[in-house]
């Protein structure tokens, strides 16, 4: 077996390229009447992200700085903050790429601030839950005790896969001008998830989600400012999903929208003759 070793770290990679100022909005509920800006000088090395900068400040300058992060690679959705004029993931943006000597960081707008850069996402998750973001089938028994798999073709997968990439970071609601004034607007994230399930060929829940989606705080509150899609770090394009939901309703009213019946269950293959050219599949997870 050949051995692969990690590429060696060159000492030149660790050289400080430049110093930047982090201007961070601080807020401590026990002490502060209002948020206040605080500046920190941060030495930047190659490849350093905004999140790395925050970690460096916490380790070296001020341990009381509060922010959320977990995966530090753009998949957990914890580190959303307002960085140099846009809602972004701190771990997904390299300091050098921001092309600025001052990095201004504020907590995500449109959410209450818990402390420093930590926004309160509870209402956001409630909205997500309100549109029933899971597979709904008329035959519940099959979901609980599966006798096979729900069929889905690769084309049917493409209908929703981009919307399924959502990591619930909440950046889109921060960017949305409608969310800025309407507390009850369901918002781009949840609406995109409603579309993601409605359009899934295995789902039969479109009727159940209808009331929430087409309420006065649903899809028609969106006026296609498009900012959610501009800032989404995963290419979910929530604005697209919302306009497609509107299209579905419009077509329904014209009686030209046909809800396709949900796909069937295909039983396990009883006897399977392996094709020599195809590598062996891993073990089944559902037995």
């Amino acid at each position: 077996m050949s051995e692969t070793s990690a590429p060696e770290v060159q000492s030149s990679d660790l050289k400080v390229i430049k110093n930047v100022t982090f201007e961070i909005l601080r807020y401590s509920p026990e002490k502060d009447e209002a948020p206040r800006a605080q500046k920190f000088q941060v030495p930047v090395i190659k490849g350093m992200t905004v999140l790395d900068g925050l970690l460096w400040i916490k380790e070296n300058l001020d341990a009381s700085l509060a922010y959320r992060s977990s995966c530090r690679m753009g998949v957990c959705g914890s580190c959303g903050m307002f960085i140099n004029g846009l809602p972004r993931l701190a771990c997904n943006n390299q300091i050098v790429h921001l092309n600025a000597d001052t990095i201004t960081i504020k907590p995500l707008p449109n959410y209450n601030i818990i402390r420093d850069l930590v926004p309160d996402l509870e209402g956001f998750f409630d909205k997500h839950e309100s549109i029933q973001p899971y597979m709904i089938r008329e035959q519940v028994e099959e979901l609980n005790n599966p006798t096979g798999e729900f069929f889905q073709s690769p084309d049917e997968l493409v209908d929703y896969i981009q919307f399924a990439y959502c990591i619930k970071c909440g950046l889109c609601l921060s960017a949305c001008p409608t969310v800025a004034t309407d507390d009850n607007f369901i918002g781009p994230q949840a609406l995109a998830q409603a579309y993601r399930y409605n359009v899934d060929s295995r789902d039969e829940g479109a009727k159940e989600r209808e009331e929430e989606l087409y309420s006065s705080h649903g899809v028609w509150r969106c006026h296609f400012a498009g900012a959610c899609s501009d800032v989404c770090p995963k290419g979910v394009d929530p604005a697209f999903a919302i306009q497609l939901l509107k299209q579905n309703m419009f077509m329904q009213k014209l009686h030209v929208h046909k809800q396709k019946p949900a796909t069937h269950v295909i039983p396990w293959v009883a006897e399977h003759i392996p094709n020599e050219k195809i590598p062996k599949a891993p073990e089944r997870t559902v037995k």
Binding site: F82, I113, A175, T181, D230, Q243
Partner: protein, 145 residues
């Protein structure tokens, strides 16, 4: 034990329609569409009120119209025209896109992401060029012909 937490409100509010960040042009079009819509509505109400003076006979109509001969009012009327040209053409884009047309198809997200907002941008730019042409010719008609 329930801990009392004092959360700080951080809603952008109406300021968030206009300010808010370095977003794409469509977000500012959203604010401008609302502003122009309300502007035309205000003009429309004024218009009904003023033309209603016709009921008072020729005399009152002519005295009402005399008030609008000033350059300031003429400029105001031009602004209404400008707002209408923008509102109507951007409205056309919104009718098309908000019903899900000209936005492309769902696809696998591959970085760098191309979104529906990018895909409708040629329509946006095209209609804004038409609006600009209407405004230029209309403005010439307004002031010089």
């Amino acid at each position: 034990m329930k801990v009392e937490v004092k959360h700080r409100k951080n809603k952008l509010g109406i300021v968030g329609w206009i300010g808010g960040g370095r977003f794409g042009a469509e977000r500012y079009a959203y604010a401008l569409h609302r502003l122009t819509g309300l502007g035309i509505l205000a003009y429309f109400l004024l218009h009904i009120f003023v033309t209603g003076s016709r009921i008072g006979g020729r005399q009152s109509w002519e005295s009402a119209m005399a008030n609008f001969k000033t350059p300031l009012f003429k400029f105001g009327e031009f602004l209404v025209f400008l707002a209408f040209a923008y509102h109507a053409l951007n409205g056309l884009r919104l009718i098309i896109t908000e019903l899900g047309f000209m936005l492309g198809k769902a696809q696998r997200p591959v970085f760098p992401y191309v979104t529906s907002v990018h895909r409708q941008r040629p329509l946006f730019i095209g209609l804004m060029i038409v609006a600009a042409i209407i405004i230029i010719f209309g403005g010439a008609d307004f002031y010089f012909i």
